[in-house]
Symmetry: C2
């Protein structure tokens, strides 16, 4: 089996054929990662920080070249892609700062307390240690920030874990070049051989998650693909944590007072819906508005003015078409802006607007639970607050949920509380696309948004996915890890 780059603007393959990673090659990579694990986990925070910063510097220096390759493979545009390289290097430097400070170690020291238990206890000191080699499954839609040099790889390396990235087939060439830049910089900074590798091919990905040397996996992608890999990870003889970010409908609720300027709201909503041709895991694909507000009509007018955008690959085009067609055919659903027809000469889609009411949505909850990955919106017009809350009760877990409201409406507090019960992030009068990289971020959420709602794939806390605590009891100072010494 082999892969090839395709220009999504034309649908034309280009460049050399790229072979998939064979089982033998994967074995060698896993063996090398396993051999590197001890040394990499024991490097000091300062040295790991230096290595991560070296990677960031090298990626920044090669940004122009990387963006050019990625733009040809993804059609995402050079401005967006340059921003993504910047986001990736920002993340690498953020994790460098974190490990340099030792903040990822979660050091807790309990000095001995004399006396009988439970009050009395021996000296106990706890810190986090690396899990071992990590498999990272790169996303299609962010070739850098959630790709080979993205947050999963950066956080796992920061934790002290070697990383094997399974590249996404939508941008194999970008993945190869980014992987070379990344790996070369790590090597030059003294990381052990085997600390970083990139593999290609779906079967290699399946084998990777089953490889005994792999101790955890992180994934960003589709619900079906993520669930299949989660099942493999969970059913191994030695199960491993699988941190899958599987996507979400990301509901946006507009209260009766929530869009005082309907035109402005419609324009901003369509901006968020069509950003990156809707290929964001935080895309606001489900909108709940008061019936009779006129927002549906304004949004349709606004969306009808937008040009089609480029989609990443034929699979996304087909999936979007199929899911939109399935929902559009349901009773009570109006197609206000048509589903894209078959595209020729490239992968493109314009905005799609479906509308329905609360009754139809409650009778057919797939309208509330289906992610149409791309620039497609389902607008539910609710007749009353009671109906709105009943509709929200049918939602699945999601990455992010948004309220557009007025602070003084009693409904607003109810919505913030209700949505925090199903989402990993709750927004107020803002847009979900764009996920800030900070300590306070949480990019996660209940299943099916992710396979592990306790963890985030964005922000400094992402490093915690790859660390486990160890307590040291009555161990003398000279034998303790440095971080635990008095």
């Amino acid at each position: 089996m082999s892969l090839q780059s395709v220009d999504p603007r034309t649908g034309t393959p280009f460049g050399d054929v790229i072979p998939e990673t064979t089982s033998d090659e994967l074995d060698q990579i896993a063996t090398a990662a396993s051999a590197a694990a001890g040394a990499w986990s024991l490097t000091t925070g300062a040295k790991r920080a230096t290595a991560l910063r070296a990677v960031a510097d090298r990626l920044d220096a090669r940004s122009g070249e990387l963006v050019e390759i990625a733009d040809r493979e993804t059609g995402l545009g050079s401005m967006r892609l340059a921003g993504e390289v910047g986001r990736s290097t920002f993340q690498l430097r953020m994790f460098a700062d974190l490990v340099e400070s030792g903040g990822h170690l979660g050091v807790t020291i309990d000095h001995a307390v004399p006396g009988a238990p439970p009050t009395g206890h021996p000296d106990l000191r706890r810190m986090n240690v690396a899990l071992g080699p990590v498999a990272v499954f790169a996303a299609s839609n962010f070739p850098f920030a959630f790709g080979v040099p993205g947050g999963d790889a950066a956080s796992a390396l920061a934790a002290g874990c070697p990383v094997v990235v399974k590249a996404h087939p939508s941008h194999p060439r970008t993945s190869i070049v980014a992987g070379e830049v990344f790996g070369d910089a790590l090597s030059a900074a003294g990381a052990p051989v085997g600390t970083f590798a990139v593999v290609h091919g779906m079967e290699a990905g399946r084998e990777l998650v089953l490889t005994p040397a792999i101790r955890a996996a992180a994934f960003t992608g589709s619900g079906a693909g993520g669930r299949a890999l989660f099942d493999l990870a969970s059913n191994r003889p030695v199960p491993i944590p699988f941190y899958g970010e599987l996507g979400s409908v990301n509901p946006v609720v507009v209260t009766p007072e929530g869009a005082p300027d309907g035109s402005l709201f419609a324009s901003a909503y369509v901006d968020s819906l069509t950003m990156g041709t809707g290929q964001f895991c935080t895309n606001p694909g489900l909108l709940l508005v008061p019936s009779g507000s006129g927002l549906t009509e304004r949004i349709t007018v606004e969306a009808s003015r937008r040009e089609p955008g480029v989609l990443l690959n034929a699979g996304i085009v087909g999936h979007l078409h199929d899911e939109v067609a399935r929902l559009a055919a349901l009773p009570g659903v109006r197609t206000l802006l048509a589903a894209p027809g078959p595209t020729t000469g490239g992968y493109r889609a314009g905005p799609v607007i479906l509308a329905t009411d609360g009754t139809a949505a409650m009778a057919q909850p797939e309208l509330l639970r289906t992610e149409c990955f791309g620039p497609a919106a389902v607008i539910v017009e609710y007749a009353s607050e009671e109906e709105l809350l009943a509709v929200l009760g049918l939602l699945d877990g999601c990455l992010v949920a948004t309220v557009h409201g007025d602070e003084v409406e009693p409904l607003s507090a109810t919505l913030i509380s209700t949505l925090s019960g199903i989402a990993g992030r709750v927004l107020w009068n803002d847009w979900p696309t764009g996920v800030a990289v900070t300590a306070g971020q949480h990019h996660g959420g209940p299943f099916p948004a992710t396979t592990n709602s306790l963890h985030t794939s964005v922000g400094t806390a992402a490093v915690l996915r790859f660390l486990r605590p160890v307590a040291f009891q009555s161990v003398p100072g000279a034998l303790l890890p440095t971080a635990l010494q008095d």
Copy 2:
């Protein structure tokens, strides 16, 4: 199906038959837990703390009665059992202090930073919220501390989660009475109906972990049972986290200088091995000593002086017998103190000592990986440091690993580092039985010791198993949860 109390000192059933929980009853319990989840999670930390302390007070007040029932069902002795009630109430009060302080919320506040991303970002504030109803599978060997009123129930309730405990069939009566005391105290303190329940029966346990309303499960018990339930939890349509503590061989390594007083060491080792008739998940079942040290002989003499102790049930007797017989039959294994024969008139076992050398252990790694639950030791006599390290390389993940050494030996540092790679807790010149309840504790470890090495079932951090983060973006102060307000 029904259950009955059995006096393990005589093997005689006593008391009324206890019916297993039916599917209909389980449905009602799950529905009530689900209905309670919102209100319980939104109670203030102060109110939850008051409720947890009320439970502790009520358990302390009824300690005499509880100990009497438990002693008859478990044969663990009233002193040990009274200590266990004290440990349980200590834990409840510790978690009360934690939630009162808000420490479990993990509040992180990032004020807005103006400018373009990635440096600029909106106001983001993160806190932990409760997962929802939790299933707790109580252990056989600690009817209180890991039973109905144990750390799993206490930490889940502290997190704001309703709890359904599946009682262990070794002490159904104890579980019923402890559950009544627990539930009544919670109700009197104002907890919603449905916040706490106890169910009985293996099939009820299987159904419980598959119940959609259940959002996480905690388990302490056997490897086979825990793995089976982990598989059910992971393969649900909506998978849930399953925190299983499955047991461990808990290796103890003696360095060449590690036991300057061999008799003292032997006596202390046998004390730890036979504590609670060896029915501790932290029991030191694998001992590695320098060959020719004489420690094997001293331990055998010491162990031969100990009286048999009471085991909890017929299953543990049979399993211990079978596992010891299997290991004893392996080539190169010497039985120095015999396996217990068939017991009559009760469930009892005296210490068992098997010995082998490094060569045989490496050829048959089951000698290093089989937990013989009870007072049974496998002693591996190693010929050299190299052989010792090679043997340690074959160990599975474990809860706790211990070094008895001299601080100035270079081997000591190597061992502390090596063992921290496979264990959740590393001890120095101490004994693993007895797990202190502190903030710095970690009672966990890599599979097969647990199904999730990132978490602990003992200590304040146990509460984190039942919480997930939510980030609030640009939410005005009046609409934020109190803990996130400026």
